[in-house]
Assembly symmetry: C2
Homo-oligomer: 304 residues x 2
């Protein structure tokens, strides 16, 4: 089975704490390695977690608040020093190029020229190897100065299950005829649908980025294997909620429940809160939610 794992490189928000670095999440699916957000300190978190500067295939930015992006110049300068000359695609909401330009004088000219800026529209999809893709999910944050995205990372659907016994009983013999059926051809009057079940979903993850609770995440995260949702606030912080466009742990739990996600991980944890408080609030609505620590890894398993 192809590996599909999420590694949390920074689970804090706004300011780092001794326990939690700033947002950066590593997704490895087969040979594809993607980073979502790149807070200050990410290059070092990568070293600690991966034993080196993982050769990322792309970086996705959720928005351009400084806690999510200040690790970019250091990471890219270090890539350059290590001789990377493969371009680095950077994806993000509008206005991406204007925001990358803020780093222009902090990277060597050669390093900056390695960047490939790809501004995404809400709902736009980026395809990687083997049917793996990332879709931009519009969220509610930073509305004063641009868009903000969460991302949905998804494998393509897998073919339905082939019912060997049924095929045999219908008179098709194991061998080339099985291959023909799986390729969609009718064999000896037996149609593929007679012996092959419905397509099975690939593995899917949604990461919210920073956002007030929003229906778009409920929709994008419908029955996903893993929802990684921000929980910057607790219900007792409700006075800040409108101003900061963040979610409480309870908001995140409600969204996870409504979307019927299989697993909920909360991140972007404030220095003001302890994981225990965040968990307690989330479990009221979504039993089993977790608050990963930096360097925790979640492996996604195929079912069925």
């Amino acid at each position: 089975m192809t590996d599909f794992a999420v590694t949390f490189l920074g689970t804090g928000g706004t300011s780092p704490s001794p326990q939690r670095g700033l947002p950066a999440t590593l997704f490895k699916r087969g040979g594809t390695k993607l980073l979502v957000d790149c807070g200050e300190g990410t290059q070092r978190q990568l070293w600690i977690s991966e034993g080196g500067l993982t050769d990322l295939d792309a970086i996705f930015l959720t928005h351009y608040h400084s806690d999510h992006i200040l690790g970019l110049p250091g990471l890219l300068n270090s890539y350059q020093l290590r001789g990377r000359d493969r371009p680095i695609p950077i994806y993000g909401p509008k206005p991406l190029m204007r925001n990358l330009n803020r780093f222009r004088t902090l990277m060597g000219g050669h390093t900056f020229s390695l960047l490939r800026a790809h501004e995404l529209a809400p709902g736009e999809r980026v395809d990687f190897a083997d049917g793996f893709s990332v879709m931009a999910v519009p969220v509610q944050h930073n509305r004063g100065s641009g868009h903000a995205f969460g991302y949905r990372l998804a494998e393509q659907n897998r073919p339905g299950r082939f019912d060997v016994e049924k095929a045999k009983s219908l008179g098709v013999h194991p061998g080339p005829d099985f291959g023909k059926l799986q390729a969609g051809h009718t064999v000896r009057g037996v149609k593929p649908d007679d012996v092959i079940g419905p397509e099975r979903p690939g593995r899917t993850v949604v990461i919210s980025g920073d956002t007030a609770p929003t229906k778009s995440i409920v929709m994008a995260a419908h029955e996903v294997d893993l929802l990684i949702h921000e929980a910057s606030l607790l219900t007792l912080d409700r006075d800040w909620k409108e101003k900061t466009e963040h979610s409480t742990a309870l908001d995140a739990a409600r969204i996870a429940r409504e979307a019927r996600v299989k697993k909920l991980a909360l991140y972007h944890i404030s220095q003001r809160h302890r994981a225990k408080q965040v968990l307690k609030e989330a479990w009221n609505n979504y039993m089993g939610a977790i608050v990963p620590n930096d360097f925790d890894r979640i492996d996604l398993h195929l079912e069925g």
Copy 2:
């Protein structure tokens, strides 16, 4: 006795490693708190070391290569979020303002306006409370695009030792007359010099910043209590030496020996080297040199 301590917040150079953060060194002398350099991740190192974002009185930059400065926007943004409205003086070589401007769009406007840029000339001194001062020492690095400094941090000289027994034997009695002698007045024919020894030096530290071996450090570090010298290279790296304008561990040891410093600490350690190798090379010329780890602290003690 007034405390005077050095805390190493980042002892690596160029790129961080799991063990070593990027350059940042905290000097606390009495109530004065100064930071020299501010590599990526410094705000988090401060949290881990000090249990909070120490309310720094000033930041001194040695030069403007990105490994020494990329922690500035995050640190200052976090100060601002915590409500600091006391301006933050930033000292450094020419061209300081042009370099700080590189961060302008990465800090909030209010945060940027907290910065007070003070460009220093080689040899220029900045005075802090209680006779404590910092002097810019020109070094040999980055000559293509500007100056680079080390810094000499020094207490003012202390008065000489008062010889109580001798004063009594000369007929001066303990009490107000002792005070008069110490204030420089002649009492009953006894001159201050008869009973007070020569001025005693205050405590001094020199930190080199990045530099090729240079006589200016030998002079500035003459008999200092502590020389913190970069050791980015080993002798086996000599091919890089001219190109990168760095020092080997052996260079640093020779300088320490020539300057007769009381203690030598090596920093700006490359990911390519192990501390053991660096020490081994340094001890050939300066027995007892140390390679501090991140968060190590050296307390400077008054002698005599």
